[in-house]
């Protein structure tokens, strides 16, 4: 399947936004303006843009710790205020969770964002219930759970896939296999470097996707979501990709590997080449898009920085509902 050029350019713009968001955030984090911890999605833009493109506001997704991009895209697309994701990361009152959640807990049900859970893998169980609600109510929606390759180590992986399978729940498992869990190579942490090998026994379709090729990723997500919406039950996608962020303490991966992924397999570059090869657009046109998006992200950062801190007394609100 070949993508029409408008869609491809739109997706490219989404990818640019993700990268600009992450780079801007990282810069502010290093300056000490963003508290807590930070995991960025740089390098995984194609996978993220493909998922975001197909999920509607009435679907649900559970973003992982590198999903600022998906969160921002959904927030911008459905509410027109992507800057509130940025503000949340800065711990501001204008953030989507008024500063209570931060990077690891930015949610907004209005855009289908059901929030990360920093205990990796725990929402593999939660996603079952969202899907069950769709099923019991006859809604043709999808509950998507985005997990890293490392997260697959958790017992909930098994409980979740099994229950989704026996109840034929509308769950899309999107495993972002970037080759490592912190420092642990996927092939050392799991019985197979291909996560699909661990998923196949549950009888759902299991597909490996080139997560750095936006065209392929877009098509595979589309297929999966159509399958699920048609009531066929769960579906498992494994995106092979790579994260640019090393460890907090620096790069630990072999230089050839770093070079390969950052240069030859850079999803941005691959997308740019496709666009230029298949349309009248030039590298200059794409640069203009990049500049536009970057300017917007700078505004978001300014919005976040200029936003007030939450009222401390709010810290005791909402522990219990109604009490």
């Amino acid at each position: 399947m070949k993508l029409d050029i408008e869609t491809l350019v739109d997706l490219y713009r989404d990818m640019v936004l993700i990268r600009a968001f992450e780079f801007g955030l990282e810069r502010e984090f290093k300056k000490g303006n963003v508290p807590g911890m930070l995991h960025t999605g740089v390098g995984q833009e194609a996978t993220q843009a493909a998922l975001a493109a197909h999920l509607t506001a009435t679907d649900a997704f559970f973003p992982d710790h590198r999903c600022h991009g998906i969160n921002a895209l959904a927030q911008e697309k459905y509410q027109g205020d992507g800057e509130r994701i940025m503000a949340e990361l800065f711990g501001r009152a204008t953030g989507v969770c008024s500063g209570k959640g931060g990077s690891l807990h930015s949610a907004n049900p209005k855009v289908g964002n059901f929030g990360d859970n920093a205990v990796e893998g725990s929402y593999m169980a939660t996603v079952l219930g969202v899907a069950l609600a769709y099923q019991m109510r006859g809604q043709p929606n999808v509950a998507c759970c985005i997990i890293g390759d490392g997260t697959v180590g958790r017992g909930e992986f098994h409980e979740s896939l099994n229950m989704a399978a026996i109840w034929k729940l509308p769950v899309l498992y999107a495993c972002v296999n970037n080759g490592y869990a912190i420092s642990m190579p996927v092939g050392k942490g799991h019985a197979s470097p291909d996560i699909v090998d661990l998923a196949r026994g549950y009888g759902m379709p299991c597909v490996i996707v080139d997560g750095n090729d936006i065209e392929l990723a877009y098509a595979e997500v589309q297929k999966a979501i159509e399958y699920i919406r048609a009531g066929n039950g769960p579906y498992f996608l494994e995106f092979k990709t790579w994260r640019w962020q090393g460890l907090f303490s620096g790069e630990f991966r072999p230089p050839e590997e770093v070079k390969y992924w950052k240069e030859e397999r850079d999803p941005m570059r691959l997308a740019r080449e496709k666009i230029v090869a298949n349309s009248a657009m030039t590298a200059e046109d794409l640069k203009r898009i990049e500049a536009e998006v970057k300017a917007e992200i700078d505004q978001w950062i300014n919005f976040a920085k200029g936003s007030p801190m939450p009222d401390p007394a709010k810290a005791t609100a909402d522990v219990y509902v109604g009490w």
Partner: protein, 329 residues
Amino acid sequence: MTQTSARTRTFVQALNEALDIAMERDPNVYMLGEDIGEMGGDFGVTRGLWAKYGEARVRDTPLSEAAIIGASVGSAMMGMRPVAEIMFADFIGECYDQLVNNAAKMHYMFDGQFKAPIVVRTACGGGFGGGPHHSQSVEGWFLNVPGIVLVAPATPADAKGLLLASIENDNPIIFLEHKALYRVKGDVPEGHYTTPLRRAAIARQGKDVTVVATMKMVHEALAAATELEKEGIDVEVVDLRTIRPYDAETVLESVRKTGRAVVASEAPKIGGLAAELSATIGEECFHDLKAPVLRVAGLDTPIPFSLVLEKYILPGKEQVIAGICSVMK
């Protein structure tokens, strides 16, 4: 609390009625757990409901405790009202993360955008030779977890009213059912009614000493009170009913009146509910207390299998009596 004529029912029947009424009234209520369907649950609490409401709403699950709670929470985020059964409370360690880090924090960390109105029914307590993994009192595992609600009925009427109130409440609730109470009978009003959460009950009025208790220990305290009445000691028994967040006002008011307090709990003494109650009473009633607040609780051990050993470590009427006599000195 609308209630019509009362009839005698067992604790299990009272729970079953509550579930039936809740399922009947609200299509968002559904149940999930191991063997709760055709079999009606290990203790018969869900009996008949699978036949009446069908397997979409009375869902048998595999032995996947984390998935049971996860599925509950996720569906609750969507507005459903799941009632999960964890067969024995001892197994709740398997879904501890789901309850503590997910259900309990959901509403707070997402700034009120989601709610997690789940009810997790579970059978707790010892006394029948169930051994270390089928006999525990688990409320202590959750006492220090803001966001969690712990409900613990002592009578059939409260079992029904508190379960209905719990299902209708918007918070994540662990609903403790003491196995020794399942066959206990009592008056149970017909039809729908709720017993308020976070409200203790005065199970017996008295003026000399306050015993604060939950579940089976309420009955042990009442038995102790009957016995001590003969000796001229007038015991007030407070049945806490909701353990977290609990009704400190009723407890403190009673202690201020009697000036003496015994807190009775089946769980091990160290670090349990009895400690929390004692600390709060000590803080708030310092000048009213005529004697130190005394904890009557389980010994600090796992629960052994052999009945003679189990009886030795779990508190009963005798220990409550001894505790009362000690603070009356």
